[in-house]
């Protein structure tokens, strides 16, 4: 590729670059890897100081134990539910909002666009939103996690711009054949918009998978908590009482250090994301270039 032969200095620089990036990769991956190591180490002193690359005494016992921890499965169920519902509702209502706005001739288009744009700049803040959720009866329901963020202004504009890039002639010919807008939307626009729909669904899905704050303030019942909140109790608030109760019932009281169990719990959130990551990552990067809001 490079027509000029590399000088000795450049070769050293190349070596330096490769070394640098290998170190950067190590620093990026190690924190995650350290949790893997910790979770599958057999000894209770699993965190003897220093950087440990491999587990000392392979054992999956801590997984067996964490498996018996019920709130984890409740959390999983709620997280999956909110992700599925959230993505479905977002896709339907975001595209339904974006399509009319993609028509420049729509009466009051400017007004509607501004109305949405303002919501991207300003929001009522914590307390007003909290009381809204309480007053409309969403508190402690799964809907409190799904509906408030259902349509994002940014996603509306991304979709609108994509819809605008679809050749108008396709719609015109369908109109000639007597198709109404609803039909055109469903039969022509949606099938042609798969790339943008995929990107937006992934954004929304990752958002829901990781969301925790809304669950913390809008739900209080133990049966309504999402996975991130279950994790938070154990790994951030260090509240391992429930987990210890499971331990004692299993008669394995002192075998595991708190940090090892925390690492195992972390794995339960890491693993699904790591599996989906290569796929999700590609679409995310495409999506970031989808571009500008205005138009």
């Amino acid at each position: 590729m490079n027509p000029i032969r590399k000088t000795a200095g450049e070769k050293t620089f190349d070596l330096f670059l490769y070394a640098l990036f290998i170190i950067i990769m190590f620093i990026t991956v190690y924190p995650f890897w350290s949790q893997v190591v910790l979770s599958i180490s057999g000894d209770s002193s699993a965190y003897a100081t220093g950087v440990r690359i491999f587990p000392s005494d392979l054992s999956f016992d801590s997984y067996g134990l964490v498996f018996q921890y019920k709130p984890l499965w409740i959390g999983y169920g709620n997280t999956i539910l909110r992700t599925v519902l959230g993505v479905a509702l977002s896709l339907i209502f975001t595209s339904l909002t974006a399509y009319p706005l993609s028509k420049r001739g729509l009466p009051c288009n400017k007004l509607f666009t501004t109305l949405i744009l303002v919501t991207m700049l300003f929001n009522g803040g914590l307390i007003p939103n909290y009381f809204l959720i309480k007053n409309v009866g969403l508190y402690d329901t799964i809907w409190a996690l799904v509906i408030p963020g259902m349509i994002g202004g940014f996603n509306v504009f991304i979709m609108r711009n994509f819809f605008r890039s679809i050749p108008e002639s396709l719609e015109e010919s369908a109109k000639m054949d007597g198709a109404g807008y609803l039909r055109i939307f469903w039969k022509i626009i949606i099938p042609l918009s798969k790339p943008v729909l995929a990107t937006v669904s992934l954004w929304v899905a990752v958002y829901h998978w990781n969301a925790w704050f809304d669950s913390m303030i809008y739900t209080s019942d133990a049966s309504k908590q999402v996975l991130q909140i279950v994790l938070r109790k154990i790994i951030v608030e260090n509240n391992v009482d429930d987990l210890n109760a499971v331990l004692y019932r299993a008669g394995q009281g002192s075998k595991f250090s708190g940090r090892q169990l925390q690492a195992t719990i972390i794995m339960f959130s890491l693993i699904p994301m790591l599996i989906a990551y290569p796929f999700v990552q590609k679409h995310f990067v495409k999506g970031i270039m989808l571009g500008a809001v205005k138009g």
């Binding site: 450049e10 965190y47 100081t49 209502f93 951030v236």
Partner: protein, 315 residues
């Protein structure tokens, strides 16, 4: 709009007009659920900020509570913690900007010098990884990594440094915030710079190679100048979020030992509002932040437009 329409319009004018009215009716109907959503879940809470100007009591409701004007804003200006919180917000944001902003640019510039495409792709893909995890999970990992007997202290121990619990120590807490913030976001933030580098005209490089420019000179005299508009725009856009010091991160990492160096506006609003139930006071502080933030976003948006970054503005 296209060539065939005038002909048809001439023949079926009334039907066409009827159609036109009808077609917009359908479109407007499609818009209704979205409008209801935005009014209910965005504009209603915006109206709700009036409780910052009232003595809000749950029993009286928003309507029934008494107006108190700027009482709670004046209370904020008399509250020493309010200034601590603003100072912390600005300091943490500033340090994050200072280290977090150049990191992705340097990363992109250096990785661009790597010629093996596969290696480059792998490094890039791995660099995005931390961005996909919540601060609950990252917080747990950070707590574990920075533990008194964790790897960071283990590594420092090799250089003879005594172990410290950095997350419980006000001298180190902010540094941990900055380092872990850079760790989470440098890869993701570099995407825009990689895209900008990829769009540079290759002829520039070819011409400079013929003129005998070294790799270093090409980076300094071509890549960096060509990147500078994007860099300026990104910097301005970052400035507009200077009041967002990272609620998710701090909320999952801080503890009472380090409140005085890590309590930011958002965490203070949360604690005043939902922990101490001082609803009006909390809303007043939140509104103060929102007002400043809107001014920042709107003005930076104009500045970005003015420096020619139309693709990156909001409107």
């Amino acid at each position: 709009m296209d060539g065939s329409i005038p002909h048809i319009r001439g023949k079926t004018e009334p039907a066409q007009r009827y159609r036109k009215r009808n077609e917009y009716r359908t479109l407007l109907l499609m818009l209704i659920p979205g409008l209801i959503y935005f009014i209910l879940f965005h504009y209603l809470p915006m109206y709700g900020v009036v409780i910052a100007f009232k003595d809000f009591k749950i029993t009286e409701g928003i309507w029934g509570s008494d107006w108190v004007g700027f009482k709670y804003f004046l209370k904020a200006f008399d509250d020493p913690q309010f200034y601590v919180v603003i100072r912390n917000t600005l300091l943490i944001s500033f340090y994050k900007l200072l280290f977090g902003f150049p990191a992705p640019i340097l990363f992109a510039l250096l990785l661009n010098e790597v010629t093996r495409v596969r290696f480059k792709k792998i490094v890039q893909t791995i660099s995005y990884l931390p961005y996909f995890f919540s601060w609950v999970v990252l917080g747990g990992i950070v707590i574990s990594i920075f533990a008194i007997d964790g790897p960071v202290n283990g590594l420092l121990g090799l250089f003879g440094v005594d172990p410290v619990l950095m997350l419980g120590d006000d001298r180190y807490f902010r540094s941990v915030l900055v380092v872990t913030d850079v760790f989470q976001s440098f890869g993701w933030n570099s995407i825009i710079f990689f895209a900008a580098i990829a769009s540079i005209d290759h002829q520039l490089y070819e011409a400079s190679i013929i003129d005998g420019a070294s790799r270093f000179k090409r980076a300094v005299h071509i890549t960096i100048p060509m990147l500078s508009p994007v860099i300026v725009i990104m910097l301005i856009l970052k400035m507009s979020h200077i009041l967002d010091a990272g609620f998710d991160q701090i909320f999952n990492l801080y503890n009472p030992n380090v409140f005085h160096v890590s309590d930011i506006i958002d965490t203070y609003v949360y604690r005043k509002g939902l922990t101490e139930m001082q609803y009006s006071y909390s809303t007043a502080i939140g509104l103060f932040k929102s007002a400043v933030a809107v001014v920042l976003v709107v003005s930076t948006n104009y500045i970005v437009k003015w420096v020619g970054g139309k693709d990156h503005t909001l409107w």
